[in-house]
Symmetry: C2
DNA sequence: CTGAATATGTACCTCAATTACAAAACGGGG
DNA sequence: CCCCGTTTTGTAATTGAGGTACATATTCAG
């Protein structure tokens, strides 16, 4: 994992998400600091520790301790990482307050803001073991059926099928509900049903998951934690994503799902290429054993 | 635009570009500092002024003077702004060095790294006027035909068509080459042909652009700057995106294109809803003029 | 109600950043 | 070639920020 072992102060983990997540677990005065920081994110990096302590009404060591609680080495590092985090996800701070209608690049910034926010939240929730399990199931799959419900998810499903298919694994995307049930029923052991659903509550996917699972297929679901689909799935890749209430905005969760699909596809590609290499090695080894030569073989690779 | 009118010290000006630009105009020893900073961008923000001065072989005031020459208030501000500038394009610097095969969340981080890098580069290149022009053309379009070539682009095209269609504008996505030429030929003034192509060199899209343009349709192209397609298009939304040479990795430019499409769709949605509101206002105004009442109208909105 | 554990503040210390000033290098006339 | 003004650079001192040790207050279990 690159995140932990990156340089220090390199802002690997998203401080702001971290802050939200730890909210409530702080000691009383530290919580006051947290509140102030949340409310004045942008100003912090220009403040001295004394100014901040003064503004909050606590002593400077409390501020230092707060920084430590946040996983930083001290106030210095905290300021730096906060500044870096803000530079990347600046737009996220005031998603709805800003005036979209200013035109030009304003809309792009809005979309980017939602994208950053969603994707950062998603990253935090990824369970590596689940990913590994999903990759293994997909790598060894005889065939894969992908389905998604809701506007964005169908696109993601389509893309997932495309990518898997390119890796030489028979894969189809299904968007029709009835067809999905039928496809699900044709799956057996070693096959994978990959379902994408933000809510995880739609009857069609839940029922498809049940059917496929009943026939021994592995059901991989990208969905909301604890949803019906998550419970029904063999491997649940869960992400609870914030949705912007503004209906004009596109659902940013599409991006998060796409990232997961891309990551899965990339890992599968890698696993398969390694398997291929391993096969080649075996072929070569057996050839060597057969005619006793150890030099480079003209055939076999 | 959020970037310029943010608080102070918020890294409004790009320090790194500034550094390149001022290169050569520095006094001798300051130039040495500049060289060192250029070569060790990432480490600087973790260094003390004494360490930096020592590493370069100059005195600390020289470093301070260098910072002043760069337009900063002192070394502190310089470090901070540099860190912010770097945070935005950090991942782009060492994309392939990372080890993918570690499994787990490693793949997700890789995809995210490519995503951030691509999307930030794209954001930098967006020309607001082009976006506005595209939005206007799309808003007033009688019908829209969308097409994309290459694996990722078809998905983007599909999505664009879906979103525009939901806004009540007749829109279709075409992936078949011949069909595209035919569709292009049916377009007229007020219609829009939206083309998505990373390279902008594929004959099919260039020819389609020519045909549609010949019949008076507006051709909006999301593509590489200076490409054949960009030249042929009425409105070219240009982005020169870095592609990772690793073929196992997904093409991150899809994300950038999707963001552009989302931004366009959102702006169009807004423009249309404003048009609707404007229409309502006119109706109400005329009604008011008609029977002279100024109180709230039961009808009209 | 008491004592341990935890939370918070006071006072001090260290060291980083900055400034003031002096020395050195440079450059153009006499 | 030397002198004087300007610019560049370094030394030493100053300021103040960040961090630490320890004392005090608070909380909660028994």
């Amino acid at each position: 994992m690159p995140t932990p072992d990156n340089g220090p102060a390199q802002g690997a983990v998203d401080l702001i998400s971290n802050l939200r997540q730890l909210n409530g677990t702080f000691a009383a005065r530290e919580q006051k600091v947290a509140d102030f920081v949340s409310a004045h994110l942008e100003e912090i990096s220009g403040m001295t520790i004394a100014e901040l302590a003064g503004a909050v009404g606590v002593s400077t060591p409390t501020v230092v301790r707060f920084c430590r609680s946040m996983g930083c080495d001290g106030f210095r590092e905290f300021k730096l990482r906060l500044a870096q985090n803000l530079a990347v996800s600046l737009q996220y701070l005031a998603p709805s307050h800003r005036d979209v209608s200013e035109g030009g690049a304003g809309a792009v910034d809005q979309v980017l803001g939602a994208l950053y926010a969603t994707v950062n939240v998603m990253r935090q929730q990824i369970v590596p073991e689940r990913m590994d399990a999903a990759v293994q199931a997909l790598t060894e799959a005889g065939q894969i059926v992908v389905a998604g419900v809701g506007g964005g998810s169908t696109m993601v499903a389509q893309e997932a099928a495309n990518r898997m298919f390119r890796l030489g694994i028979p894969a189809v995307a299904v968007s029709d509900s009835y067809l999905l049930q039928m496809r699900a029923a044709t799956l057996g052991t070693n096959d994978v049903l990959l379902l994408v659903s933000t809510s995880g509550a739609a009857d069609e996917v839940v029922s498809a998951a049940g059917i496929a699972g009943g026939y021994g297929a592995t059901v991989v679901a990208i969905t909301r934690p604890g949803s019906r689909l998550a419970q029904e799935a063999t491997i649940a890749i869960e992400a609870d994503l914030p949705e912007d209430p503004d209906i004009l905005k596109p659902t940013a969760s599409r991006y998060a799902h796409l990232v997961i699909v891309d990551a899965l596809a990339m890992s599968v590609a890698q696993a398969r290429s390694e398997a291929t290499t391993e096969n080649l090695r075996r072929i070569r080894a057996s050839l060597t054993a057969y005619h006793g030569r150890t030099g480079p073989q003209p055939l076999g690779d």
